[in-house]
């Protein structure tokens, strides 16, 4: 079974803090993705990566950065967290052009 894990299920941070969200997949997938999910807005792609050290901006990259130093790990970084980044963050992975497998999600609250 494909397994995608995320470092935290719930996280509370203060405005201005640097936040790291970690995602690990165990299926040797090439592609990895970070989404945020907000009520009424569905899933929105923040960044994705199709290879180690490669990254592409998604639809809403502002305020975020990513790192992929190893194939199995994809990190999302909030350089200076703001309250409008309070959301559910979902990581996913896939092999080329097939279905994405999602992690359990991290519910981030920025106060």
């Amino acid at each position: 079974d494909v397994k995608v894990t995320q470092s935290s299920r719930y996280l509370v941070k203060r405005t201005g803090e640097k936040v790291f969200l970690e995602c690990v997949q165990d299926m040797d997938h090439e592609n990895m993705f970070w989404y945020r999910q907000d009520p009424g807005l569905g899933l929105r792609l923040i960044y994705f990566s199709y290879d180690v050290k490669m990254k592409e901006k998604g639809d809403i990259p502002e305020g975020y950065s990513v790192s992929r130093e190893k194939k199995e790990r994809f990190s999302l970084i909030l350089e200076s967290a703001s309250t409008n980044q309070t959301s559910m963050y979902l990581c996913a992975s896939s092999s080329y052009s097939v279905e994405q497998y999602f992690g359990p999600g991290t519910r981030l609250t920025v106060t």
């Binding site: 090439e30 592609n31 993705f33 009424g40 807005l41 569905g42 899933l43 792609l45 994705f48 199709y50 592409e56 998604g58 979902l90 996913a92 896939s94 092999s95 080329y96 052009s97 097939v98 279905e99 994405q100 497998y101 999602f102 992690g103 359990p104 999600g105």
Partner: protein, 113 residues
């Protein structure tokens, strides 16, 4: 720019009834995915539709794809309470890097006794 629209966005059904969720998309693609999300949980893959005319069935759910009409449907037969969840369709944008999906807004389904 690829857009994906689902309707309805909210659906309240009685147990035993049938209904269809529609997923329309704006540009050519022949790969479409349906996911289910339970409250507070992540997304679970339901169906992968990879060609025009593809039909997949699992239990009371059946999904189909018409690439010419740019339409997929998720049909629910004789709904039961356990089907209450949010359902998302997602279309493969077919970018060169592969695998980038554009999601619909989701359809929140509530099945009542």
């Amino acid at each position: 720019e690829l857009k994906v629209e689902q309707n309805p966005l909210f659906l309240s059904m009685q147990e035993g009834k049938n209904y269809t969720i529609y997923c329309n998309y704006s540009t050519t693609s022949d790969r479409l995915y349906w996911y289910r999300q339970d409250p507070g949980k992540s997304l679970e893959s339901l169906f992968v539709l990879l060609s025009n005319g593809a039909v997949k069935q699992e239990g009371r759910l059946m999904a189909s794809l018409d690439t010419k009409a740019r339409l997929s449907t998720l049909h629910i037969t004789a709904a039961v309470h356990d089907l209450s969840a949010t359902y998302f369709c997602a279309v493969d944008e077919r970018s060169n890097q592969g695998g980038k999906l554009i999601f619909g807004q989701g359809t929140e389904l509530s099945v009542k006794p």
